[in-house]
């Protein structure tokens, strides 16, 4: 098994001034292994950035412990110079252009690859001599993406690195990420809420909601770990009886129920006999449903968030293998 490079135990964070409000992080524990691509997923305000800030010593924990490369990262150069953290809104000195930023990164990161940086800058059509202050939102994000990839740090955090990037540029980022990671395996933590876009790149998924971890699993075991059963409501009820229901929606005499678990070939055949349709649940749908379910269980006001993501493609799933 891969070596564990991050260990987080009982991490709790209260922001000053949040009063009696809920903590930003509430007893979070997880670990991260070397040379994998992780997805840190969750809604806005779930606590993703807070976790990454504490891991990179840019924020303090209220309670709990954090070990990165086996050490406390706080003011620890031996840990921090192995980490690259690309923030969603990275600030640069006022008179910096992209070239300046790359030079500074080259000084800091031992594995910096200048030719990769130049190639990526060209791919993203980044004006290297224009002051960063004057760049568009997308170009600013591109500067971060270039630094994050070209630094080849042992541990790289991308905190929603795609803001302002159009679909073409985002695809370019994902492609270059896979390419470079394949050639130079390293640990990458990608926070995103464009889950569908990044799902296939991830080896492991950690989902955080309201300061707590609600999913922590291999991406491959999550894929196909839930299934949506649709058809005549009465029959759907019979078929899903006794199973863990993640989500339920109805439409007249029809119902669509998302259940946890993998169906056997026999169960698939049974569903077919009942005239029920089985549809796959994407990672994004799974995260949305689990997140909503959590909110409902908590009984919080926004719990019933009207996020009834429609089961768009009820493509009939064939039993295979």
């Amino acid at each position: 098994m891969s070596a564990e490079i991050i260990r987080v135990d009982g991490l709790t964070k209260h922001y000053r001034g949040s009063g009696d409000g809920a903590p930003a992080l509430d007893g979070v524990s997880f670990s991260i292994e070397a040379d994998k691509i992780y997805g840190l997923l969750g809604r806005n305000g779930a606590g993703k950035t807070t976790i990454m800030s504490i891991l990179t010593a840019q924020g303090f924990a209220t309670a709990g412990s954090v070990r990165v490369f086996g050490q406390n990262p706080y003011e620890n150069e031996r840990v921090l110079n192995r980490i690259c953290f690309i923030r969603e809104s990275q600030k640069y000195p006022d008179d910096f252009n992209a070239n300046h930023a790359f030079k500074a990164a080259a000084l800091f990161f031992d594995n910096w690859d200048q030719s990769l940086a130049m190639r990526l800058a060209k791919d993203f059509q980044l004006p290297l001599k224009r002051r960063i202050k004057k760049l568009s939102r997308g170009q600013l994000s591109a500067v971060g993406v270039v630094i994050g990839l070209a630094s080849r740090a042992e541990l790289t955090f991308f905190d929603e690195p795609y803001l302002g990037l159009d679909a073409v540029a985002r695809q370019l980022f994902y492609d270059r990420l896979v390419e470079d990671y394949t050639e130079y395996p390293r640990t990458i933590v990608l926070s995103s809420h464009l889950i569908d876009e990044v799902a296939n790149l991830l080896e492991h998924v950690i989902v955080i909601d309201q300061g707590r971890i609600i999913m922590d699993d291999d991406a491959e075991s999550l894929r196909g770990s839930a299934v949506a059963v649709a058809g005549q409501a009465a029959r759907v009820e019979v078929f899903t009886a006794g199973r863990t229901v993640i989500h339920r929606e109805g439409f007249g005499a029809l119902a669509s129920v998302t259940i946890d678990g993998v169906l056997s070939a026999g169960e698939r055949a049974e569903a077919a006999e009942l005239g029920l349709e089985l549809a796959p649940v994407s990672l994004q749908q799974l995260v949305v449903r689990r997140t909503i379910k959590g909110a409902v269980d908590d009984g919080s006001a926004d719990g019933a968030a009207r996020q009834g993501t429609k089961q768009g493609d009820t493509a009939r799933m064939e039993a295979t293998r």
Partner: protein
């Protein structure tokens, strides 16, 4: 292409299997590398490797040290045999179910099948998904 119906490594394995059954990947020919699969399908390389290794464990592919993955001799027969076993459940049963629903008799169904199989000539490999 890759969808959400099941783990991606299974889908990669199936694509390679399809190519072997169709003859796109001949026995003893080299299979694209894990990294090529990852780049082409935009998936995590570890996932692609898992799919390829599944077929190695199954004896469908074998590894030549330092060169790459190759299709084993006898792989096609093995896969065709397995698929014939699955054919009834996967294709005949749903077909019969739909036919019943539409009131198509078994005679009519047999006639349609006969017409389709005889006139179509070689079932087109063009309809198949080619892995790479």
């Amino acid at each position: 292409m890759i969808d959400d119906s099941k783990p991606i490594f299974l889908q990669i394995a199936e694509m390679i299997e399809n190519d072997i059954v169709d003859g796109v990947l001949a026995e003893e020919s080299q299979v694209p590398s894990t990294n090529e699969f990852a780049a082409f399908h935009r998936i995590n390389p570890a996932t692609a490797a898992k799919g390829v290794n599944l077929l190695v464990d199954d004896g469908i592919l074998y590894k030549r040290r330092g060169i790459g993955m190759f299709v084993a001799t006898g792989a096609r027969d093995k896969l065709v045999g397995r698929r014939r076993d699955e054919f009834f459940v996967q294709y005949v049963k749903p077909l019969a179910r739909e036919a019943r629903k539409l009131g198509i008799s078994s005679g009519q169904l047999a006639e349609m099948l006969g017409k389709e199989i005889d006139t179509d000539g070689a079932p087109g490999p063009t309809e198949r998904v080619v892995a790479l």
